[in-house]
């Protein structure tokens, strides 16, 4: 694939706007709170789109098309089952505590609710994870651009990292959030034509259904046993593992996304952020997954299109998206598509970097390295951390070259770090008897249980380093079960240790725990802006979609 001058013009235009937004926002920064938390002043439509855009990195974009080609419409569960219920729960039940507690980050909430050691554990593991995710995303993009356009891996990685660094350094979180929205719109508008063209060419949805095995076009029907569906998971693992533990762990406790909602201008806006975000999120599968499914059909139709192959043989699903673009997009729109890919990479990376610098500055530096310095000092630390975060991500990108299926690896990391976390938050927010020692014991044993499960079970040649107690039919199933085990362990240990330790006085937990906090009622909001009607509408749409693609 070769880009024409007009494609480079589009790429340049986009970079100019991204940097321009950063430049215009630089004057809004006068304190560490402006830089790291947007001064809590961002309008709700912007935080809602940023909420889902921060998660829509290049890895997701490439990975979702790849999974679409590999697993079919079941991939949509990563959205319908694996995101939306958790986003609704977050907006309705959890946001009042995050926003109302005045915590500046998720780890800081843990400090207020429990104690220092739980915060430290969460802050450090989160910091490592953001760098890791950002590095994987960078690696995926660099590899792809090298493969597709013949650009140098190092040049494309360094150039895009430099642009992300420039606008996050200038305008902080606000700049990252504003650009994420521009990036989201570009991804949606840039990839929608691909979905439309490829599905039409494949004969519409009916044409796809008639040409594919039925387990590729049904999301629920073949989930009874792991051997019947291409993902190799059964309904319990799917619903409990992905739909409950992994998704709630990610969408409700991951500071990367929670930070976007916390930047909203009011409590009511913060609660509506994830709720409004579910609406575009619900329809994203049509843009990001459909082209992958259509690609499999097109390859069967003797049109001259074949699924891309790996050097070692077997299909290379990660290249499905770009090969489709080269088959459907002429010079011009191809530039938009490529810019969209770069944009997705940047929004993913900026999300990670801005979450990393906040957690490092407030939860690590201010808590353990230097307390009580003037705010100017922390603003400088925030800026320096932004630079360091980008540099560490680049290092992580080179580490990631050792793994090939990036989506599975991400799930693995989330499984071990995020899964127990949701149990801690659930108990912390809704059970006032949960104690600091209980939370810490639960969290550490849950994480240990995750790694232990990974070490004792095997799937597709991964894991099972210590022993091979169980063989999973797929890595996906293994990831889901690791999450289930981690969550259950954390939950049980937290409850047992909490009951054995001294409870904290109620008075200290006002605003932090359900039952001791007045849930805000926003009487100025119009009826359709209130959480309940919004949620009902979303649930109805979600049910219809799932019945349609059952």
């Amino acid at each position: 694939m070769k880009l024409a001058p007009v494609d480079y013009l589009i790429l340049a235009l986009y970079f100019a706007f991204v940097l321009g937004i950063g430049w215009r926002l630089r004057k809004r920064i006068s304190s560490s709170g402006d830089f790291l938390m947007s001064g809590r002043s961002v309008p709700v439509w912007i935080t809602s789109l940023a909420f889902i855009a921060a998660n829509l990195g290049a890895v997701e974009l490439i990975g979702m098309a790849a999974s679409g080609a590999k697993y079919g419409i079941m991939t949509a569960h990563f959205y319908w089952l694996g995101a939306i219920p958790a986003m609704l729960f977050m907006g309705i039940f959890m946001m009042p505590f995050y926003y109302g507690s005045k915590a500046r980050s998720v780890p800081e909430y843990l400090k207020m609710r429990f104690d220092e050691k739980t915060r430290a554990f969460n802050a450090f593991s989160f910091a490592v994870m953001t760098i890791f995710s950002s590095g994987i995303s960078m690696y995926a993009l660099g590899l792809l651009l090298k493969l597709v356009l013949g650009w140098s891996f190092t040049v494309s990685v360094l150039a895009s990292a430099a642009i992300v660094l420039a606008y996050t350094f200038l305008g902080g979180l606000t700049s990252a959030i504003y650009n994420e929205v521009l990036q989201f719109l570009l991804i949606a508008l840039g990839f929608a034509p691909l979905a439309i063209l490829s599905v039409m060419k494949a004969g519409g949805w009916q044409g796809i259904v008639s040409r594919l095995p039925p387990n590729m076009t049904h999301a629920w029907t073949y989930m009874g046993s792991p051997t019947e569906n291409p993902m190799g998971v059964e309904i319990f693992g799917m619903v409990a593992g992905l739909g409950f533990v992994l998704s709630f762990g990610y969408w409700c406790t991951n500071f990367l996304v929670v930070q976007r909602a916390m930047a909203a201008e009011s409590m009511s806006a913060a609660r509506r952020t994830p709720l409004i975000g579910t609406i575009p999120k619900m329809f994203l599968p049509f843009i990001v997954i459909m082209p992958g499914i259509a690609a499999v059909v097109l390859a069967k139709m003797n049109l001259g299109y074949a699924l891309p192959l790996k050097a070692t043989g077997g299909p290379d699903y990660d290249q499905v998206l770009t090969t489709l673009m080269s088959q459907f997009y002429p010079a011009g729109l191809l530039g938009v598509g490529m810019t969209g890919l770069m944009a997705s990479f940047m929004s993913g990376m900026a999300g990670n970097v801005t979450a990393f610098n906040t957690v490092f500055t407030y939860d690590i530096y201010q808590s353990y390295i230097r307390k009580g310095a003037p705010d100017d000092h922390y603003l400088t630390v925030g800026r320096v951390t932004t630079v360091v975060g980008v540099l560490l991500s680049i290092a992580a990108a080179y580490l990631a070259t050792r793994y090939n299926n990036i989506m599975d690896l991400l799930q693995l990391v989330f499984g071990c770090v995020n899964a127990p976390l949701f149990a801690t938050f659930l108990l912390g927010m809704f059970w006032k008897r949960a104690t600091a020692h209980g939370a810490f014991a639960g969290l550490t044993s849950g994480t240990a249980a995750a790694f232990l499960t990974l070490s004792c079970t095997e799937a597709e040649g991964k894991g099972g380093w210590i022993a091979q107690v169980h063989q999973f039919p797929s890595q996906m199933a293994q990831n889901f079960w690791i999450a289930i085990v981690a969550f259950a362990t954390c939950f049980v240990i937290s409850v047992v240790v909490s009951l054995a330790t001294r409870p904290r006085p109620d008075k200290e937990m006002e605003g932090l725990v359900y039952g001791l906090t007045k849930v805000p009622r926003d009487l100025t909001a119009k009826w359709y802006q209130r959480p309940a009607p919004l949620t009902v509408a979303v649930v109805i749409m979600l049910v219809i979609l799932n019945i349609w693609f059952r």
Binding site: V6, I10, L189, F328, Y329, P330
Partner: protein
């Protein structure tokens, strides 16, 4: 800063570039399609961009 302004300008300009391609090079198309893809996509983006600018302009005149 109202984000609708820079986004509106961005998509309007992008739409104009694609429309230009669609009008002046209508024969440009990729292997699997014969449609003038640039023309349609460009028109949609221009409309979207102008819509954002309109929203921003209305919000400003209301203040």
């Amino acid at each position: 800063m109202d984000l609708r302004v820079p986004s509106g300008w961005f998509f309007s300009l992008l739409g104009l570039i694609l429309l230009g391609m669609g009008v002046f090079a209508p024969e440009t198309h990729a292997a699997l399609t014969t449609e003038n893809v640039n023309l349609y996509a460009g028109a949609c983006m221009l409309v979207f961009g102008l819509f954002l600018l309109l929203l921003a302009w209305r919000a400003r005149s209301h203040e």
